[in-house]
Symmetry: C2
Subunit: 156 residues, 2 copies
DNA sequence: TATTGTTATACTCTATAACTATA
DNA sequence: TATAGTTATAGAGTATAACAATA
């Protein structure tokens, strides 16, 4: 704020480091044959099996047509299945295949490698402090703990 | 790391909050008639007047053709000028117009509004701590202090 | 008539290669 | 022959509207 004697750069640093973090994660999972977007979808389906495409679109903050394309890709890779709803046959329920489930521990490993890579300049105490502050920011900003909306904006 | 008893989420939180920060900034400058990418270019030219398009492309981490499109837009809005190099007529040197320079304090205001908006859940002390940690991360990761590469990745 | 998913279309950002004018 | 900028083209991600099947 005005009382502090430094330029307002937290927003800029968050944008910059957020982009960098996404790049590092994309690199970490490249050998798994999926993109960061696909990894996000897999995580959500793992957390809420049977979720409909509409509910997934709403969680991702994207349109339904984007979900169609994403699921087409994941279905083609045999990671996700679509099942028509028994009571409402308009809905498609999404679930992980056995192959998809086998990806989950690898995604967790990738997240750990990403964190190690990102925070290698910090002490354990600093890493813990940073985690606390980012969690506080995220929850106070009412952002979903499973999802973030993806990169729509552009460089600042 | 393995010794810490929490999931590896710093990378995820940085991505999520970075996207959110970029969205907030885009909203703050929308009334100025420029995008976040254009604001970034204006800031760089303000900092290094006479920079060539090639040098700008390298700073942005983008291709030269993207710079052509960006400068076309800024020139059309009368915010930036191109001047052929006197000694090497292949080069285009970029400078802000008077109108462009008048935007600078408004961009600073927008950055302050963004920071206030982003960190409204934090105490002054927490805000100062967060700034320290993010600065440390950014400098240890060797990221440019003026620029970040923009959003190329997608949701995770 | 409304809703779920699908298809079609367009717009932006990005990346690459071909082209020009200068060196 | 190499370089700075430009143009053309194609690919991803995104958003919107039109459409089919179902409710």
């Amino acid at each position: 704020m005005a009382s502090e004697n430094r330029p307002a750069r937290i927003g800029f640093l968050l944008s910059q480091l957020g982009t960098h973090a996404a790049d590092v994660f994309a690199d970490e999972i490249q050998h798994l044959g999926i993109t960061a977007s696909e990894a996000g979808v897999i995580r959500i389906i793992a957390h809420t099996p049977g979720i409909t495409q509409r509910a997934l679109a709403s969680k991702l903050g994207t349109g339904q047509s984007r979900v169609v394309a994403l699921i087409d890709g994941l279905e083609h890779k045999d990671l996700v299945t679509r099942t028509r709803g028994a009571t409402d046959r308009r809905q498609q329920h999404l679930d992980l295949t056995a192959v998809g489930r086998r990806l989950l521990p690898k995604l967790r490993q990738a997240a750990e490698a990403q964190e190690t890579e990102l925070t290698q300049g910090l002490t354990d105490q600093q890493r813990a402090d940073l985690y606390e502050l980012l969690s506080l920011l995220s929850s106070s900003r009412d952002l979903d703990s499973d999802v973030h909306p993806g990169y729509r904006g552009t460089a600042r």
